[in-house]
């Protein structure tokens, strides 16, 4: 099964849409079958037959009753679909968030996602971690959506419909998955060259696992003496202008926070597994993995590259 199908909803927002969609599919299918059947019947029954060349059929110019009927029946169908849609609109858009809501600020960047948990003091990128929500005691996640540059759109089909991230136009989106797991999606609003490689990964944990993850993320970056050379290179070059590593002088905000880089499973907005080879290749030349990425290639020689990679590998 596709991991991004809309037919396998796992949160109440997505489930409401799914239930509505079933009604819509049924109504539309019935209309299609009835109208096509009439059409096929008319075409077959009233086809031109042999030996019928000269006769013109009876000319009928219209019928008020019949035309009224096929005006009123669609109006009724439209009203039904409209009212069922409005219920779902109100239930999702105007839902009151309970006290246990996890709030996350999401900032779309040209071609990656920034996640900030203002209440919890955590900053991360590209992989969203949230707790499951128990219907008895709901802890939904409310995303505040912002953009740093172009328009983006947040779409994890199994959790919710999409909502755009637009500069100067803050939006909101919420979901409350009950099952732990990894939910995938990707940017759904064209945002530039690498729109295709702005993948979304939402990790849903049990509340305990989520608390553990938060505690780990709150720690400042590890200091490992064996990689002092790499750290020095990082802090002496452009790297620190764009990246933050908590507990060090690196406080850049343009690129992803790297404090716990190695706790993430993927690199560059979900496009490759986060391992030493890919990390090194990425630092060497981001364009080799993602042509059009805004991160510049810094002219490290091989030894420097290894040192920086080793340093970053310690940021768990």
């Amino acid at each position: 099964m596709s991991p991004t199908t809309i037919f396998s909803p796992e949160s109440s927002a997505a489930r409401m849409i799914f239930d509505l969609s079933l009604l819509v599919y049924v109504v539309c299918t019935v209309i299609f079958v009835v109208v096509s059947a009439l059409l096929i019947y008319a075409l077959v029954k009233y086809r031109k037959r042999r030996g019928d060349e000269t006769r013109e059929p009876a000319q009928i110019f219209g019928s008020k009753q019949i035309e009224l009927a096929w005006t009123i029946i669609p109006i009724i169908i439209v009203l039904v679909l409209f009212l069922s849609s409005v219920r779902v609109i109100a239930a999702t858009q105007d839902a009151k968030m309970p006290p246990g809501t996890i709030e996350v600020n999401v900032v779309g960047h040209q071609y990656w996602w920034e996640y900030r948990y203002p209440g919890l003091g955590v900053v991360t990128a590209n992989e969203l971690h949230i707790p499951t929500s128990d219907p008895a005691k709901p802890t939904p996640t409310l995303l505040h959506l912002y953009s740093a540059d172009a328009n983006h759109s947040y779409w994890v089909p199994r959790l919710a419909g999409k909502t755009d991230l637009i500069p100067n136009h803050p939006n909101q989106l919420w979901f409350d998955p009950e099952k732990p797991g990894l939910y995938l999606g990707q940017c759904a609003q064209y945002c530039g060259v690498q729109h295709a490689k702005m993948l979304l990964r939402v990790y849903v944990h049990s509340p305990d696992d989520f608390r553990r993850w938060i505690e780990e993320q709150k720690e400042p970056a590890r200091q490992v003496d064996t990689v002092a050379r790499g750290r020095e290179l990082f802090e002496r070059t452009n790297c620190m202008n764009c990246h933050t590593i908590a507990g060090t002088p690196a406080t850049g905000r343009f690129g992803p926070d790297l404090t716990h880089l190695m706790s993430r499973e993927t690199l560059a907005a979900g496009i490759v597994p986060n391992n030493r080879d890919n990390l090194r290749a990425w630092i060497k030349d981001p364009n080799s993995l993602k042509p059009g990425s805004l991160m510049p290639a810094i002219a490290f020689d091989d030894a420097e590259l290894d040192a920086v990679t080793d340093y970053l590998m310690t940021l768990r």
Partner: protein, 557 residues
Amino acid sequence: MTTESLVLPAAAAPEKTWLERAHAWVTTVDHKRLGIMYIVFALVCLVVGGLEATIIRLQLMKAHANVVSPEVFNELFTMHGTTMIFFVAMPIMFGAANYLAPLMIGARDMAFPRLNAFTFWLTVFGAALLYYSLLGGYGLYGDAFAPNVGWFAYAPLTAKTFSRGHSNDYWTLALLVSGFGSVGTAINVIATIFSQRCRGMTLGRMPLAVWLFLVMCVLVLFTLTPLTAAQLMLLVDRYLGGHFFDAQAGGSAVLWMHFFWVFGHPEVYVLALPAYGFLSEIIQVFSRKAIFGYPAMVAASIVIAFISMSVWAHHMFSVGMTSYGNTFFVITTMAISVPTGIKIFNWLATIWGGKVDFKVPMLWAIAFLFQFLVAGLTGVMLACAPLDWHLTNSYFVVAHFHYVIVGALFMAVFGAFYFWYPKVVGRMLSEKLGRWHFWLFVIGFHLTFDFMHIPGFLGMPRRIYTYEPGRGWDVWNVIIGIGVLFQGVGTLILVFNLIRSAKKGKPAGNDPWDAWTLEWSTSSPPPEYNFATLPVVRSRRPLWDLKHPEDPDWKYE
């Protein structure tokens, strides 16, 4: 009206040289020649836009394919969309209106023949500007060599920050210039229909096709204005330091969306309305029956045009409007399905009790009916805002609007080609090649666009130059790609048929289909002055009255 089609003998003129003939075409103000040029121009652009689509589909045949670079891919879908909407669909419809409207209302030409020529050349110039970006768009930063912001060019990607070269300026200028052309043509068609009708041709007796040209052109006047305004504002942003859409300086990206879609949605109906017109004429003639419920058909067209101007933000359900805003656009969008339903049912009722002759134009009309039904129903799905939160900007919506534009609109246009070609050229298109074209194209269409809905359900967004394996999208994209091949071959057969039949087709005579509207009363092709004596009509089907003096329409209307 006169019973015979009187044609004045042409003054004996010496054979013209190639250059003289070319000069005559370039300088012509004859509505028929301009109509033909619109359509030839649109067909050339259709082939270009089709090739662009073919490369897009090749690139998406498998995950992580590398047929073109991401930059080129983004340019391709921008150029494909812009070309197909502004330089294929619009000119075809304007070409048809140009050619047919004066003939169908018994006029000698358009109201403003020279404006007519001017607006045609503006359209051509617009297309030239768009493609000139390939040469001239290489800006200081070498940012892109063709427009790369998508056909609706959302702000702030169009701001200087994100689009530094000149390529997107060519996009802006192309639409600005061709937009002036469209407005001029619309004024011209409206003036023609209001002032040039022959004696007896009241508004209530106009053929439906003419009614739909009229409604389309009124809609053009209303909807191209915001687009033009937005293009000017964008130019102000980019070159005079304005901040309408420049989000980095406090401008509004959402404002651009409103401007664009308040044009963009009615635009769909600008293209669809004349297609309804073609369909109404074709179905009448090949079912051998008068249109069922003429007043309702006219009313439905006007209502569609009216409502279409209040539905634009259904393109923006995911933009984060309030629940009240979303609710409003749900009901207006769904409301449009009522008059549209009336049209489908009236066409069905026209076929009902008729004598359906499955000639090629009618085949296209039938394909239109089924596909338009599907497109309408997927439109209803998209109108449910919550479902749209999933489906908008996914491949589902791409499938939906291609169903409308290719499945409905183009099928009607192809039907119109086979129907009116004999009038325009004086020779019949080959029925045999026509059937080949029909079946190849329809099969290809369904392979491509039926299966395109599925990756949308499975989470595939539009405008991605490649995708990840393991999402369940691969196989559908292969089928979609195969369909393109069929449509391509079908289109080539059409082009071949159009060219070949001009020389070798069976002579058509004035009225090959035994039809009922005025254009069939004059010779094929019509003389420059259309009618030697202007006709006088007493009903909606003047030629029926002529052919059936014992049972004329005017007794019943």
